[in-house]
């Protein structure tokens, strides 16, 4: 069982590597944030898989990581919404009021 859990952990880590490729390539900031979110979920999975091998304390770390990953994404959206602080619902889509990131291609 120990061997198997390590094997699955390696597999999840490999899939995180793929997500990091997307963080690297982008192209848009939202792509990078999304892939970072995947790294967060994968990190939670890795901690879950390793928990039975130690003393289950890793679950507390997993809980904290799940919380932080969610807050990081909310922080990203708050920071990139056009007025810099507001709710994304405030701006109608299709009217990017002076946003940066134009001209970046689509993958």
């Amino acid at each position: 069982m120990t061997f198997w859990l390590h094997l699955v952990t390696l597999g999840v880590l490999a899939s995180l590597g793929g997500a990091l490729w997307r963080v690297w390539r982008g192209p848009s900031p939202a792509d990078r944030m999304m892939a970072a979110q995947l790294v967060g979920t994968g990190g939670v999975a890795v901690l879950m898989l390793l928990a039975p091998l130690r003393d289950w304390a890793a679950l507390d770390v997993a809980l904290a990581l799940a919380l932080l990953a969610a807050l990081a994404a909310v922080g990203f959206v708050k920071a990139t919404s056009p007025d810099g602080a507001g709710d994304p619902e405030e701006t109608a889509p299709g009217n990017p009021a002076g946003r940066d990131g134009n001209g970046e291609g689509d993958g």
Partner: protein, 104 residues
């Protein structure tokens, strides 16, 4: 028996993680990639949580695994909407130019 179930469930979880990453790498636009990320990853996390729960020694560990998954699910559903919205305002991928019009 529990060990066999753990092996099968964690293997399924790993498959969904790999699928999520494959989608995030292969899918052509950001909103399609968000589909892959949100759905596949949380399903993978769910399978892994159930698989690991079968190895747990106490109810508290099972409950904690459930709490983590519930939190991840809630966060994924909310964050997917927020990032999808941010990507819309970001690149003016306006739905006005959508393939299909709005429906009633």
């Amino acid at each position: 028996m529990a060990d066999l179930a753990t092996v099968l469930l964690t293997a399924a979880g790993l498959c969904f993680f790999l699928a999520g990453t494959a989608g995030v790498i292969r899918f052509p636009d950001i909103h399609s990639r968000l589909h892959a990320l949100t759905k596949a990853d949380n399903l993978g996390l769910g399978f892994i949580a159930v698989g690991v729960a079968l190895q747990a020694e106490s109810w508290a560990q099972v409950a904690r695994l459930g709490l983590i998954w519930a939190l991840a699910l809630l966060a994924a559903g909310t964050v997917a909407q927020l990032v999808a919205r941010a990507a819309l305002t970001d690149r003016a991928a306006a739905p006005d130019g959508a393939k299909r019009g709005s429906r009633r």
